[in-house]
C-alpha cells in the first residue's frame, strides 16, 4: 500500500485506453494541461475490445486498487463494433466480480472521445478519489504481490 | 371550401396565408391565447382552407387584442392579426354596419379604459 507524506492512502489505478478515442482524449487533456492524479497509469490498446478480463484480474493481482477501461463512445468505434463487445463483456465481468463480493466501485468503463479531454481528466479524478475512499484492494489481491 | 370568401379575406388583409408553415409561433406568442376557441395559427389555417362559417361564428375573432405580437414574430411574414381583422370586418359588414364611428370615440372613452383598448379601437376603425 502506497501512502503519501501525510499518510493518506494513494491507490494504484490502471487505465486501459483505446488508441483512437480515449488515448487521444487523454493526450488532449494533457495538451490542455488538465490535471488528474499521477497514480493513474495508462496502457494503450488498439481498441477497448482488446482488453481481456484476464488483464483486469492481473492488474488486481499485481496490486492495482482500481481498473478503468476507456473506449470510443458506442457507435463511434474505429473498428465499428469493438466497443459494443466490450460493453457486453465488461458488464458481465463486473457483475460477476460484484457477485463474488469484490467492491463494485473498483471497476469502471467510461466512453471518452478524442475531443473529450475535459471529460477524461474529470473521469480520472473522480475515479481516483472513489478508489482512494474505498481503500486498498484486499479482496482480489495476491498476497505474494503485496507491497 | 369557400374560395371567394378566402380570396376576399386575403385581398382585404393583404396577408399571405399560403405562406404559413404551421409552426404555431403566433399562438405561442399570443397574450390572449387562453380566452380563444380558435387560436391565431388556426385563424390562418381556416382562412387558407376557406373554412368560413365556423370562423365567422366564433367569438374568438373578437378576442384578438390586435396587439400585433403575432405579426411581429411570424417567421414567414403571414401577419395573422391582419387576417383576423379582415375576418372581423367581414362579419361586421355582413351585419350591415361598422359599429364604431370616429365621432363616437370621445364619448366612449372613459378613464378606466386601458390605453391598449383605445389604440386597438382606432386600429380597427382605421381599416
Amino acid at each position: 500500500m502506497q501512502v503519501n507524506e501525510t499518510g493518506a492512502f494513494v491507490p494504484t489505478v490502471v487505465a486501459f485506453c483505446c488508441n483512437w478515442c480515449s488515448y487521444a482524449g487523454a493526450d488532449l487533456s494533457g495538451t490542455n494541461r488538465l490535471q488528474y492524479p499521477s497514480n493513474i497509469k495508462i496502457i494503450r490498446v488498439p481498441c477497448s475490445c482488446r482488453v481481456n478480463p484476464m488483464f483486469i484480474l492481473r492488474a488486481f493481482q499485481r496490486g492495482a486498487d482500481g481498473v478503468i477501461l476507456c473506449g470510443c463512445h458506442p457507435g463511434d468505434c474505429h473498428y465499428t463494433t469493438g466497443n459494443y463487445y466490450t460493453r457486453r463483456r465488461m458488464t458481465l465481468l463486473f457483475s460477476m466480480l460484484d457477485y463474488l463480493g469484490i467492491e463494485r466501485e473498483r471497476t469502471r468503463v467510461e466512453w471518452v472521445s478524442a475531443a473529450e479531454g475535459q471529460k477524461f481528466a474529470e473521469t480520472m479524478k473522480s475515479f481516483a478519489a472513489e478508489i482512494a475512499a474505498l481503500g486498498p484492494n484486499r479482496r482480489l489481491e495476491d498476497l505474494r504481490c503485496r507491497k | 371550401m369557400n374560395n371567394d370568401w378566402k380570396d376576399r379575406i386575403v385581398r382585404m388583409s393583404g396577408a399571405a396565408v399560403q405562406k404559413c408553415m404551421r409552426c404555431g409561433k403566433c399562438s405561442a406568442t399570443c397574450p390572449n391565447y387562453g380566452e380563444m376557441e380558435y387560436h391565431p395559427h388556426q385563424f390562418v389555417y381556416m382562412v387558407e382552407r376557406g373554412d368560413t362559417e365556423r370562423l365567422m361564428a366564433s367569438p374568438s375573432i373578437f378576442e384578438c387584442l390586435t396587439c400585433f405580437a403575432c405579426v411581429e414574430r411570424c417567421p414567414r411574414g403571414v401577419e395573422p392579426a391582419k387576417v383576423i381583422e379582415a375576418v372581423r370586418l367581414e362579419v361586421i359588414r355582413q351585419k350591415g354596419a361598422n359599429h364604431l364611428k370616429p365621432d363616437d370615440l370621445p364619448a366612449a372613452a372613459d378613464e378606466d379604459l386601458p390605453g391598449q383598448a383605445l389604440v386597438t379601437a382606432l386600429r380597427k376603425f382605421a381599416k
Binding site: 494533457g30 494503450r44 488498439p46 463511434d76 465499428t80 | -
Partner: protein, 663 residues
C-alpha cells in the same frame, strides 16, 4: 539477453520543467537489459534521431524505448529512425511522459516518479516485442461495380475517367436503375431521362467500362486488392454482340400481353422486348416465361425477322470469372410492398397507387404517354390525395424505422407538377413532418404550397375506402384543427418507404461486408469514412448505404470512386503488421472469433496435424488473413483457448505492462 536503449526527451522545457529527465534516464538505465540510457533536449530533431541511430549501431540494440510525447505524435518518426539504423521499426516503444505526465502534473517529484514507471512499462513491453514486417500485396487494377443505377453509373464513369477498367454488373437487361423510371427530378425539374441517358451512353462508349447487364455476382473470394468474382451472365436468348437494337423482333412478336415491369405492370410488352427506348445496352431480351418458342418450340418469328441473326434460343447462362482490386456495392433500393397496409386499400382499388407508379403515369414514355389518367377508368382525376410516410418511421413490426428521406421532396414535385399541368385539380398532401434539408429544397416545397396552392395538412390518413361511384373516401386527421376530415378523392398516391434491394443481403454475405438491421450496408465510420465498408476494398455507393436522393447519391458515388481510384493507383498495399494470428495447435475451431470479426478476416480450414503419437488428425482451425485484419483485437478476447493473439499488443505484452505499472 536483449540489449535495450532508453532515450529521454526534454521536449525543450515541456517535459524537463516538470520531470527530472536526468533522474528518469538514470533510473531506467539501472533496469535489467538496458545498456544505454540518455536524455536529450529534442529527441525528434535530426540530431536527436541521430543520437538514437548511433546508439542502435554502436550497442547493437535489440529494442528502443523513447520517453517523449504521445506515440500518436512521433511513433512513426522514431520507427523510421530505428529502421534507418537497421533495427526493426516495431522494436520501438514510446513512454508518453509529456501529454500523460509532465503536462498534467505540477509536482516535480510525483511527475518524475510516474515518468519512471511509464518508462518501465515500455521497457517491459519492448522486451516482448517481436520484429514485425508489414505484408505487401499487389493490387489488381480493375474495379467491379455491382449495380447499374445512377450510383453505379457515376462511380464507374469516375473510375474509368481516371484510367482504370471497370465492370458494371447489372441484374436487369439494361442499366439505368430507378432513375430511368422517374419523370422529372427535384428541385430543378429536369427531365430524368434527359440527364441520365447521356451518362448511360457515356458508360457504353467509355472504353474502360464493360457493362455486364442481365448478370449477377455469384461468388466473391479474396481480399482488398485481390478479389476474384464469379459473375453469372444470364441467358437473354439474344446475342448481345450481334443485336443492333432495331426493335423489329419486338414489333413482330405475337405474345403481346406480358406485364411491362418498366411501367410497373401498368401496360404490356412483348415476350421479346427492349426495356425502354434509351436502354443501354440496347439489346433485346426474350422472356422465357412467355416466349412460345422457348416454352413449346412453336413460333420462331423473331428469329425470322432478325436481319443480323442475333436470336439464339439455345443460349445458356455462362459464368465469367474476373479479378478485381476493389468492389463497389451500388445495389440501390426498392419501394416496399404496400399491400400490407390494408387501410390504404392499395390492393382493392386501382386508383390507389404508389409514387413510383405515379412517376410512370406522368412520364411521356409511360403507359398513358404522360397524361395523368386514373388507372381504373382512364379519366382525369380532379382530387388527388398524397399520403406521406407509408411504412417509413414505424416500429420494426409495422414497417421501416427510418425516414426514407426522398418522399417529402418527390411528393412536393408530384403535387406541384399536377397543379401546374391540371390547375383544376385539388391536391392534398397528408404529412407527419415535411423534411426538406437540401439546397433549394425547402424553397421548392414552399413553392408547391404557396405558389401552386397544394394543400398540406398535418396529420395522417387513417383509412381509404373505395365508394360505389368510383371515388375514394379518404378519412384523415387534421392535427392543426384537431378534427377528422373526409376527402372525396379520385386518386390516392402512397409515398411508400424504400428498402435496400433484396439482393443486398446475399451480396453482403459474399463480400463479408457488414449490414445494419435494415439491410443497409454499414459504413466503416459513420462520419469519417462514409463511403467505405469496414471490410477493406469494399466501397459503398448510393442508397445501398442509406436512403438518399439523386444529388446525394451522385456525390456519394463520386466520393466512392475517389476512394476506389486511391486504392487502384497503388501498386502494392502495405498492411498493418499489428494483426491477429491464431496458434493452430490451440485453436478449437469454434468460430467465436470469426463471429466478432468486423472485417471477415478469419476463415476456417480443415488442416492435417501430425500428433505427438505420430498419428494424423484433421482439425478445423482459424486462419487470419493479415491483409484484411485491421488489428482491433476483438477476436483475442472472444477466443476461450487463447489461441488468438495480436501482434504488437499481445497478451503477454499487455500483461507485462500491467505488471510494471502495478509493481
Amino acid at each position: 539477453m536483449q540489449k535495450l536503449g532508453v532515450f529521454v526527451c526534454h521536449c525543450g522545457t515541456n517535459i524537463a520543467a516538470t520531470v527530472d529527465v536526468k533522474a528518469v534516464a538514470e533510473a531506467l538505465g539501472r533496469e535489467p537489459s538496458v545498456v544505454v540510457s540518455t536524455d536529450y533536449p529534442y529527441m525528434c530533431s535530426e540530431s536527436g534521431q541521430n543520437l538514437i541511430k548511433d546508439a542502435i549501431r554502436e550497442h547493437s540494440l535489440d529494442g528502443v524505448v523513447i520517453c517523449s510525447c504521445s506515440p500518436r505524435m512521433h511513433e512513426n518518426t522514431f520507427r523510421k529512425a530505428a529502421a534507418q539504423a537497421g533495427l526493426n521499426p516495431y522494436m520501438v516503444e514510446i513512454a508518453n511522459i509529456r501529454e500523460q505526465c509532465s503536462w498534467i502534473h505540477k509536482d516535480r517529484e510525483e511527475a518524475t516518479e510516474k515518468a519512471i514507471v511509464l518508462g518501465r512499462a515500455a521497457i517491459a513491453k519492448v522486451l516482448l516485442n517481436t520484429p514485425l514486417t508489414a505484408g505487401e500485396s499487389p493490387v489488381t487494377k480493375r474495379a467491379l461495380v455491382i449495380g447499374g443505377g445512377i450510383a453505379g453509373i457515376q462511380t464507374a464513369l469516375d473510375i474509368a475517367e481516371a484510367g482504370f477498367p471497370v465492370d458494371i454488373v447489372e441484374k436487369e437487361p439494361t442499366i439505368g436503375g430507378k432513375m430511368a423510371q422517374l419523370d422529372k427530378t427535384f428541385p430543378t425539374l429536369d427531365c430524368a431521362a434527359c440527364i441520365l441517358t447521356p451518362k448511360m451512353v457515356d458508360c457504353a462508349q467509355n472504353e474502360n467500362i464493360r457493362i455486364l447487364s442481365f448478370s449477377e455476382v455469384e461468388e466473391v473470394t479474396g481480399f482488398v486488392g485481390n478479389f476474384t468474382a464469379k459473375i453469372r451472365r444470364k441467358a437473354r436468348y439474344v446475342d448481345e454482340t450481334k443485336c443492333t437494337g432495331c426493335g423489329l423482333c419486338t414489333e413482330k412478336c405475337p405474345v403481346k400481353k406480358v406485364p411491362n415491369e418498366f411501367n410497373l405492370g401498368m401496360d404490356n410488352r412483348r415476350a421479346v422486348y427492349i426495356p425502354f427506348a434509351q436502354a443501354v445496352p440496347k439489346v433485346a431480351r426474350i422472356d422465357p416465361d412467355w416466349c412460345n418458342m422457348l416454352k413449346n418450340g412453336k413460333c420462331g418469328l423473331c428469329s425470322k425477322v432478325c436481319t443480323v441473326g442475333a436470336i439464339d434460343y439455345k443460349q445458356t447462362d455462362t459464368v465469367l470469372e474476373e479479378h478485381y482490386g476493389a468492389i463497389v456495392a451500388a445495389t440501390g433500393y426498392e419501394p416496399i410492398k404496400v399491400d400490407r397496409y390494408g387501410e390504404y386499400a392499395y390492393a382493392q382499388s386501382k386508383d390507389v397507387i404508389t409514387s413510383l407508379e405515379f412517376e410512370r403515369l406522368t412520364n411521356a414514355a409511360g403507359p398513358t404517354s404522360g397524361t395523368l389518367l386514373r388507372p381504373s377508368d382512364g379519366r382525369h382525376p380532379h382530387t388527388i390525395v398524397f399520403i406521406q410516410c407509408v411504412g417509413s418511421r414505424c416500429t420494426p413490426e409495422m414497417g421501416k424505422t427510418y425516414c426514407s428521406k426522398i418522399c417529402c421532396m418527390y411528393t412536393a414535385k408530384h403535387a406541384m407538377l399536377t397543379r401546374e399541368k391540371y390547375p383544376d385539380t385539388d391536391v392534398y398532401v397528408f404529412y407527419i413532418d415535411v423534411r426538406t434539408p437540401g439546397k433549394n429544397f425547402d424553397e421548392f416545397y414552399r413553392r408547391a404550397a404557396e405558389e401552386y396552392g397544394v394543400h398540406y395538412i398535418k396529420g395522417a390518413v387513417g383509412k381509404v375506402m373505395p365508394r360505389a361511384d368510383g371515388t375514394l373516401d379518404v378519412q384523415a386527421s387534421d392535427l392543426i384543427m384537431n378534427e377528422q376530415l373526409h376527402i372525396n378523392a379520385d386518386l390516392v398516391v402512397l409515398a411508400a418507404a424504400i428498402e435496400p434491394s433484396k439482393t443486398a443481403r446475399r451480396l453482403a454475405t459474399m463480400l463479408t461486408a457488414s449490414m445494419d438491421t435494415n439491410d443497409f450496408f454499414t459504413e466503416a465510420h459513420p462520419k469519417l469514412r462514409p463511403v467505405e465498408s469496414p471490410t477493406a476494398g469494399i466501397f459503398l455507393s448510393g442508397v445501398c448505404q442509406g436512403p438518399k436522393d439523386i444529388p446525394e447519391t451522385v456525390s456519394q458515388a463520386s466520393a466512392c470512386a475517389a476512394k476506389v481510384i486511391g486504392l487502384l493507383s497503388k501498386n502494392k498495399l502495405t498492411g498493418n503488421p499489428c494483426v491477429a494470428h491464431s496458434d493452430e495447435w490451440m485453436c478449437n475451431g469454434c468460430s467465436n472469433c470469426a463471429s466478432v470479426c468486423p472485417y471477415g478476416a478469419i476463415t476456417y480450414l480443415d488442416k492435417d496435424f501430425r500428433m505427438p503419437d505420430r498419428s494424423t488428425k484433421t482439425r478445423r482451425v482459424a486462419s487470419v488473413n493479415p491483409a484484411v485484419c485491421q488489428g482491433c483485437g476483438a477476436c483475442t478476447v472472444a477466443c476461450p483457448s487463447g489461441a488468438m493473439d495480436l501482434y504488437g499488443f499481445s497478451n503477454s505484452q499487455i500483461m507485462a505492462e500491467v505488471d510494471a505499472i502495478c509493481k
